[in-house]
């Protein structure tokens, strides 16, 4: 049994070690790309929600309401089928008949990015609201332009205030990559499922997938915590 297990999990021709490792890489890549895309959406969303014109605030509000309210797996499906409908229509009208779809990795990153961005919007917005107006005014009074203020004072302080919430959002993004198995992305869960099916050892492989998720989550979480406490240093007495 034990030697069999080593063979199953090893990196030899019979082993699932390499495919699982690759799948873990896909999981990390999808989570990271999705999260980074989400920061762009999040900063954009927060800017909209903090903007003066009411129309912009409503757009920001609609974005966060929709993508925090709809189950994420539905967003994944909508992007998957919506993406291929649009792409196929475009290609067909462009004179290329047939069925087209975007790579599932791209769809997955988009879906995670847009959902993560909705949560990050709130993180950035509430961090911005915690800024001390007096410090911004002091910058203005020193002759700083809007852009310089943003770069030197507003952005660094907002990031520091947002970091704890961003850490939690990162953990969700990481876990939510498992939903991308439904559109055929060979990430950790899907690869574990394949291995489970062909070896008839579902418990073993799902347990391994769970353990790998935990390890990735804890390792990145520890890194984020260190960064957080480093950046919080100026506020400690």
């Amino acid at each position: 049994m034990t030697s069999g297990m080593f063979e199953l999990l090893g990196f030899g021709p019979q082993g699932w070690g390499l495919p699982l490792l690759k799948a873990a890489g896909v999981t990390i890549a999808a989570a990271l790309c999705g999260f980074l895309l989400g920061s762009i959406f999040g900063i954009g969303g927060a800017t909209l929600k903090l903007a003066r014109p009411r129309a912009l605030r409503l757009i920001g509000q609609a974005y966060t309401t929709v993508f925090r309210g709809v189950p994420e797996i539905l967003v994944v499906y909508l992007f998957y089928f919506g993406g291929s409908v649009i792409l196929t229509t475009l290609m067909n009208t462009g004179g290329f008949p047939g069925f087209y779809s975007l790579p599932s990795f791209v769809i997955g990153v988009l879906a995670i990015g847009i959902v993560s961005g909705a949560y990050q919007t709130e993180a950035y917005r509430s961090a911005y609201l915690r800024l001390d107006r007096g410090q911004i005014e002091a910058g203005t009074a020193c002759g700083m332009s809007k852009l310089l203020l943003l770069r030197r004072i507003v952005a660094p302080q907002t990031l520091r205030f947002a970091l704890p919430a961003l850490g939690n959002i990162w953990q969700s993004a990481l876990k939510e990559t498992s939903l991308l198995s439904v559109i055929g992305l060979t990430e950790l869960l899907r690869q574990a499922g394949t291995a489970a099916g062909s070896t008839r050892q579902p418990l073993l492989f799902y347990a391994i997938a769970a353990a790998v998720f935990l390890v990735i989550g804890r390792a990145t979480g520890a890194g984020l915590n260190r960064m957080e406490s480093h950046l919080a240093k100026p506020w400690r007495r």
């Binding site: 410090q135 002759g143 004072i153 100026p234």
Partner: protein, 269 residues
């Protein structure tokens, strides 16, 4: 003492005023907070701006570096006309770069210090000279350290604002203003947020600056300081300058009834 040692630039009419304000009005909606202020400050003058709460002292000071936009009026800083343009019934800034440049020449010290909390004291001092004035890092660093030495904070150069007492933060904020080599300094109640035992250390720094012949406009409730250190008192009431003159004259009493009432309320308190 300090007022005697200062060069008497005040009544030298031939020099260009450091700050010249004509017909300054400021409205917030229907409320008119400043109701037509004409004012001159000459280089080397130390002017205390006194007045009851709500009389418009802060608004006046903040109009001088355009943290507040005047609703009407003209403003000249060191002989340079500030480009303010009429649009509707308000003024707006005509030339942002001019304003940003003038702001480094008329530096401001705030009641709540407003040091940037993610930067060390030294970084706070070096920020504007490097990024706004684009001066060289080495020169700025030397200047910043000299200023910290001068306000007695060189040993706290690497500390963050949150690790300093209020008095230390305010001294650092004054040093931050000085590193820009401003030609004038604006203070808005620099000691009002301090515990009583910390007021003295900040006033001492300001006294030294006054004795150097710096141009200073100080909104304050420290009457003894205003009387002893300033070369001129400006008394605001309901958005107008109600009295103006040498501290000795005004504080002796009998010059302006409203000012006497204001002072007597202070002496009782």
């Amino acid at each position: 003492m300090a007022s005697a040692s200062r060069p008497a630039a005040a009544d030298n009419a031939s020099t260009v005023p450091a700050i010249a304000v004509d017909g300054l009005h400021k409205r917030y909606g229907a409320i008119e907070v400043l109701k037509g202020i004409d004012f001159r400050a000459h280089e080397g003058e130390v002017i205390s701006i006194l007045g009851a709460s709500g009389s418009g002292k802060s608004t006046f000071l903040r109009c001088l570096n355009l943290l507040e936009l005047p609703s009407a009026g003209r403003l000249q800083i060191f002989g340079e006309q500030v480009d303010l343009r009429q649009s509707g019934d308000a003024l707006h800034i005509g030339n942002r770069r001019q304003v940003d440049r003038l702001r480094t020449q008329v530096a401001m010290v705030f009641q709540n210090f407003c040091l940037w909390s993610h930067m060390t004291v030294l970084e706070n001092l070096m920020e504007a000279p490097i990024h706004v004035q684009r001066r060289g890092r080495g020169e700025v660093r030397e200047e910043a350290e000299a200023m910290l030495r001068r306000v007695g904070l060189i040993d706290r150069a690497k500390a963050y604002p949150a690790q300093l007492s209020g008095g230390q933060q305010q001294r650092a904020a004054i040093a931050r203003a000085l590193v820009m080599k401003p030609r004038g300094l604006l203070f808005d109640e620099p000691t009002s947020a301090l515990d009583p035992e910390l007021v003295g250390e900040v006033l001492k720094v300001m006294r030294d600056l006054a004795a150097e012949g710096r141009t200073m406009l100080i909104v304050t409730h420290e009457m003894a300081f205003a009387r002893d250190v300033s070369s001129r008192i400006v008394f605001l009431e309901q958005g107008r300058i109600k009295a103006e003159g040498l501290p000795l004259d005004l504080f002796r009493g009998g010059v302006n009834e409203r000012f006497d009432q204001f002072i007597s309320r202070f002496n009782q308190a």
